[in-house]
């Protein structure tokens, strides 16, 4: 009797240890919430920022400590190298967002404690999305993440555009979430399970029974599932929310929308594709080609072409983000080892570029209270460091050598050619040229045009934003020149899906 108790206690401790990063985020969020309610609302909220940052650091330490264990936790979460890598990306983004938001919030918002609580919960939701290996869990986690995103998008409730953006985002998200859930119910209906691995073997046994019937019958199912993920990742044609939400949301939330749903959505999608629909299934092959390959090509082309007509920076970043999703999707669609590695590298490079770019954009929004591209005019003469940082971020998004974005694109195109998808490689390449057509608008504003107000208004003294911009530049160049710092690690991270 005593031994059993001892055993179950040990199991409990073990489980708590495995989910400690989540627990830390949860505890931090709740702590900030309680403190916020009980303390005076007139405070400077620096404490909330510090507590949130401490929570992220704690979660990072916990993640590093459990890195390397490969284990199912509580039946619905999978802990492995891939999960931990996804978590690290989320945590890095969270840390940057916390630092990024301090000054912006004090200029615009009263309820700052709540913001950090939501940020922690957003991280928590993303953690669940990254780790889940169960249909119900992944739906819940995605919805959790979506709901927090809606709230954050509408966080400036005195600003009509912010509210409007949140409503649009919400309505669109609710519909798509319903679609995905319907798709999952089909999967459950035919297999009787919600577990990824069991689903996969169920599909496998169907395939041996009658492949052709299964293929045609289940094709709509794929579309439904892709719609769910496509919404989070802003893949065309599920992208319509993105420009409005990006534009209306508070700029720091736009930064969040640009990275966290993408990191979470892509890691989850990679897991779905590689475990439920591995390439050996006919259904898996149908999912990859033509579905995902066409989706990738359409997404990047549409995103870039539409980006050409934008004059507001946040909208432009939305379209650029759509196009970048298309690139990352390329590697997933190929589903080869090199393709996935390229996708994850590109996703990481994208995250760094976006955060660096948004550090500068937030800085400008503090300075000029605007997101028109013409308000960036002459930034180089006023703040050279920021201008160069934004330039490097944009060049990385284009994929110019010397930046991490180049290595990512190089690996993606290389993987496509290796798999024989030459036309996909060609489209990806041509897209880099189109993309430069609009990034050029920003570069022209930064370096060529005369300033229009930057020289008159006082420059905000946001040292932390400059440091973030400099760090992201450094990171992009470092990864661009020495990608070997990351590649061996990625190889083992991706190795999870390629058991020897």
């Amino acid at each position: 009797m005593g031994a059993d108790l001892d055993y179950s206690k040990r199991v409990l401790v073990m489980i708590l240890w495995r989910i400690s990063p989540q627990l830390i985020l949860l505890a931090t969020g709740v702590a900030i919430l309680i403190a916020d309610i009980s303390l005076s609302r007139r405070g400077r909220y620096a404490w909330a920022q510090i507590v949130a940052l401490a929570g992220v650091v704690g979660a990072t330490v916990a993640t590093v400590l459990i890195w390397g264990t490969e284990q199912r936790v509580m039946y619905v979460l999978q802990l492995d190298g891939f999960t931990c890598y996804g978590w690290m990306l989320v945590l890095g983004a969270l840390a940057v967002l916390i630092v990024l938001s301090g000054r912006y919030l004090s200029a615009h918002v009263q309820e700052r404690g709540l913001f950090y609580t939501l940020l922690m919960f957003c991280g928590l939701a993303a953690f669940f999305v990254v780790a889940s290996v169960n249909l119900i869990m992944v739906v819940l986690a995605l919805d959790f993440l979506s709901i927090i995103s809606y709230i954050l998008t509408g966080f400036l409730h005195e600003d009509q555009r912010s509210t409007e953006a949140a409503i649009k985002y919400l309505i669109y998200g609710a519909v798509v979430s319903g679609l995905m859930m319907y798709g999952f119910s089909w999967l459950y209906g035919i297999s009787g399970t919600t577990d990824y691995l069991e689903l996969s073997s169920a599909l496998q046994s169907f395939q041996t029974a009658d492949a052709s019937v299964l293929g045609t019958a289940l094709f709509p199912l794929l579309i439904l599932i892709i719609a769910g993920f496509g919404f989070k990742l802003a893949l065309v044609p599920f992208h319509q929310w993105a420009p409005d939400a990006y534009e209306g949301a508070p700029t720091v939330v736009t930064a969040l929308l640009a990275v966290i749903p993408k990191v979470a959505g892509f890691t989850a999608l990679i897991r779905v594709i590689m475990t439920i629909f591995p390439p050996r299934l006919t259904l898996g092959q149908m999912l990859r080609s033509p579905t995902l390959i066409v989706l990738a090509a359409v997404t990047m082309t549409f995103g870039n072409l539409t980006g050409l007509w934008q004059n507001r920076l946040k909208r432009l970043m939305a379209y650029s983000g759509i196009a970048q999703s298309g690139y990352v999707l390329m590697g997933l669609a190929l589903a080869t080892r090199s393709g996935l590695q390229a996708s994850v590298f590109q996703l990481s490079a994208y995250t760094i570029s976006e955060l660096g770019a948004f550090a500068v954009i937030v800085f400008i929004s503090l300075w000029m209270n605007s997101d028109k591209i013409s308000d960036f005019n002459g930034l180089y003469t006023q703040a050279p460091l920021l201008a160069v940082a934004l330039l490097v971020s944009l060049l990385s998004l284009v994929g110019i050598p010397g930046t991490a974005g180049f290595i990512g694109k190089f690996m993606l195109i290389s993987a496509a050619i290796k798999s024989g998808a030459f036309w996909l490689a060609l489209i990806a390449g041509i897209n880099a040229v189109i993309a430069f057509g609009y990034y050029w608008k920003i570069i022209r504003a930064l370096f060529i045009q005369e300033s229009r107000g930057l020289d008159v208004k006082p420059k905000p003294s946001a040292v932390e934003l400059q440091v973030l911009a400099a760090l992201s530049t450094l990171g992009l160049v470092l990864l661009g020149l020495f990608p070997s710092l990351l590649l061996p690690r990625l190889n083992s991270v991706i190795g999870v899906f390629f058991p020897l």
Binding site: L395, I400, P401, G402, F410, I448, P483, L487
Partner: protein
Amino acid sequence: MTIPFLSILLLLPFAGALIILLIPKQRKGLICTLGCLLTLSTLILSSYLWWSVGVIGDGGMLFVEEYAWIPELDISYSVGVDGLSAPMLFLTGLLTTLALFYSAFEVQDRLREFFVLFLLLETGMLGVFVSLDLVLFYAFWELGLVPMFLIIGIWGGERREYAAIKFFLYTLAGSVFGLLGILAVYYDTGTFNILEAAALRPFADNLTWATLVFWALFVAFAIKVPVFPFHTWLPDAHTEAPTAGSVILAGILLKLGAYGMMRIALPFFPERFAYFSTDVPIITVMAVISIVYGALVCMAQWDLKLLVAYSSVAHMGYFTLGMASTAASWPRLAEDLLVFDAAASGLNGAAMQEFSHGVITGAMFFLVGIIYRRAHTRNLKAFGGLATQVPYYYGITLVTAFASLGLPGLIGFWSELLVFRGAVKLVPVAAFIGVLGMIFTAGYVLWKLIEYLFLGSLDRDRWENLPDMVWWEKLTLWPLIFLMVGLGFYPAPIINTFNGAVITLLEMLGGR
């Protein structure tokens, strides 16, 4: 331990750019001195490299360095220099030095940034000429793109923004094709090393793929050269760029494409290059059109800078003709000694044209910049009779103009002679039509350039106070004039250097 000369050569301008970035921008004197000294040191180093290749070279690669760079992707940092690249390194060092020296006096606005971008640009250009790894080549190729884009965009003329973005998009589009080609070659041969891949002959047994990949690479380079009909970015970029920018654009950047054709397109796909030069002579036709059309367009120009810009299209047409004739020799290269001789002549001519056009057109753009700064117009109709007003300028321009039309005794003569010596034997029809271009060239040089600028009657009210060249302008031009005349009378140093590498290349192609 051997000294890693090439890495030092690449590091000098790059580190220099970073150092200059740290100097306060008010200290213009320090910035200029340091910048010019840095480029001068690359010039000295590249002269040493050229000398070494000329003296101890056996036609192979020298000063080779090879380190794993991104082993996961099979990419290495491998560099080397041979007869094809050594003179181009020298030319890069020389023109960059002169351009920076000239700009130290001309550029007023944002001088520090100008120098930083120029040094980065030089790193990229030198890097392309020494790369032995395809990805490294590509990386350096693109590295030069962004600085040049900003140089045109920030310091250019009135339509600078349009010209800058056009330049960038064209070149980027070209290099995208190049990247796809490089990767296709990699998956066929299993190596990114340029020499190894050339020895393995990518896609030798798959005609469709060979054609596709050949054209991908060819177009990437043809846009840069530029070969008609890919030349339309050039007039805008060359005309709108600041003087130093035009000098480097025409002097070096075009040669990157030319060098790529020699180093990559021809050795990788000699069979396809030959096929499209003779059986389906697209390349030969494009070369001839570039020559004749380019020269005819020059005749119709009234803007001096635009005229010089279009003359680049015509002159690089000779280069392409040289390449086409060499490629045409390929099927008979191994058995027929006369054919081999003609091919060597064509390739030497093409290489020589790279160099001599760089020297001549570099000088030409300096001269345009000099007159424009004084007169604030480039309209040829506004001038006339300047010969007596600015005799020094007249003299220098005369030498450069005659070098441009290929007068014996000046450097341009040798490259054209060698190109046509090869072309007459190998692509006779094209050679015959191409010679027309030489006549037109003489036409626009004598008629447009000399007559409208210098001869006739002087508009005294307008140009009476037009000053002649000052010391730093003279100092900028003299090295170029010295090269035109010196190598014009005694071309052996450069031809011998080129020839060593050309023979090696042709022997490799012909399988001797």
